[in-house]
Assembly symmetry: C2
Homo-oligomer: 252 residues x 2
């Protein structure tokens, strides 16, 4: 990087490059999953652990909301909370994620208790909220920009999971049908915000780092999943396959 600030387009290119190099689409667990190599237990563990990420998103977004001083910015950001929590009971992204864990045989109370999380999942996800509380607002907004890259991974996940796992239904994947449109709207807005607000080279470096940090969170979640359920070195407290959840069923 030279000492002159990047143009907004150069900054966008640098941010997109973070995704190309570090987004969890490149993680070995993703390849394993969409190509049909995951065991039923691995799919269960993935959905169970990822639930915590879903559940924390509105709390993360409320944290960002406390940092935004402009009414219009807050109005825009608020949509994210509406998407995840829904406008009414039975609606919203968290509810749709629970349809997925339902379909994999988990009782909702167990999923929502988060008692069976890999501890490292919790550490990683909680670090996301802390980041949005402790860093500058533009860094907090920039850390959401993994959504720039999510439509591709979601497409691969959906087609791969439907093609390769007979127990996965389109209904169970409802979460993913909603997300690309929401993510595009949010990512477009956030990218514009970051390009407008990160003006100095120092701010630009900080927002690039923020996106790297967020990629590291998603990556660490899959590393922990792999260690526990693919390498089978289960840490204390993590859900034990074969317990609690109902066995595999087509009827789900």
């Amino acid at each position: 990087m030279s000492e002159k600030p990047l143009t907004p387009d150069e900054l966008e290119a640098a941010l997109r490059n973070v995704g190309a190099e570090r987004y969890h689409r490149k993680h070995r667990f993703h390849a394993r999953q969409y190509s049909g190599k995951c065991s039923y237990e691995e799919m269960q563990a993935w959905a169970l652990n990822r639930y915590y990420y879903q559940a924390i998103i509105p709390i993360k977004d409320a944290t960002v909301l406390t940092r935004l001083t402009d009414t219009e910015d807050r109005r825009q950001w608020r949509k994210r909370i509406e998407d995840h929590d829904g406008l009414n009971p039975g609606d919203g992204g968290i509810e749709r994620w629970l349809k997925l864990t339902d379909s994999l045989g988990f009782p909702r109370e167990y999923v929502q208790s988060t008692a069976g999380l890999i501890p490292a999942t919790r550490f990683a996800v909680d670090a996301y909220v802390a980041f949005c509380r402790d860093k500058s607002p533009v860094e907090a907004v920039a850390s959401s920009l993994t959504e720039l890259f999510s439509p591709t991974i979601i497409g691969e996940r959906m087609s791969g999971m439907l093609a390769n796992y007979d127990y996965v239904s389109k209904d169970a994947l409802a979460y993913f049908s909603y997300r690309p449109t929401q993510a595009k709207r949010d990512a477009d807005w956030a990218l514009e915000y970051v390009k407008t607000h990160a003006k100095t080279l120092e701010e630009q470096r900080a927002v690039i780092k923020a996106l790297e940090f967020k990629c590291n969170i998603l990556w660490a979640m899959l590393d922990a999943l792999w260690s526990a359920y693919v390498d089978h070195y289960l840490p204390p407290d993590a859900w034990v396959p074969g317990t609690i959840a109902a066995p595999r069923s087509r009827a789900a």
Copy 2:
């Protein structure tokens, strides 16, 4: 657990049982390390990542200090910060840990920058500080009780490392010669504090959970280390073996 509170001795037994079941002495990385199976690069990565834990301890302890309302309690707790930061430049536990990373060829600026950490190390260690800030004082104190179990693991580490790795000197392990005495003094005090202050069954369950949580942090650090450097699935940002640090040398 019955609905009657435990006696102080029963509580102590329950806490010691957490260590017997969950302390990272039981992790496969510890066995690998003290039995001489670690590569030089694994030893380097272990010392580099564990540095972050050492460096955060005085910050964690200062956080606990902000929660203690009794002067005598603070006077006792303060010793921990003195042990880690030292009374003078060139003294203290962090300085002694840097002697270990020195001996493994790392430039101090690199170690202290924490640029090469496995991201999951940072998430786990930062979760320890957040816990001590957000939970009750007695839970914060209880989370330090892994020190009840550390003399044994330190003994195994020291004798195992000296016997099995010709490049490890007693001098490089100075950190570990100081710790058992300090840890015993601190753990005795903390155990007494917890036995006195956790009176209700609810408080007692919370302090047991606090110690489990702390064990999970240490465990997650070794899981991440194993994934990155034994299983060789290196996450972005983590130190790349063969770079930055000087190669193996007996002269260290």
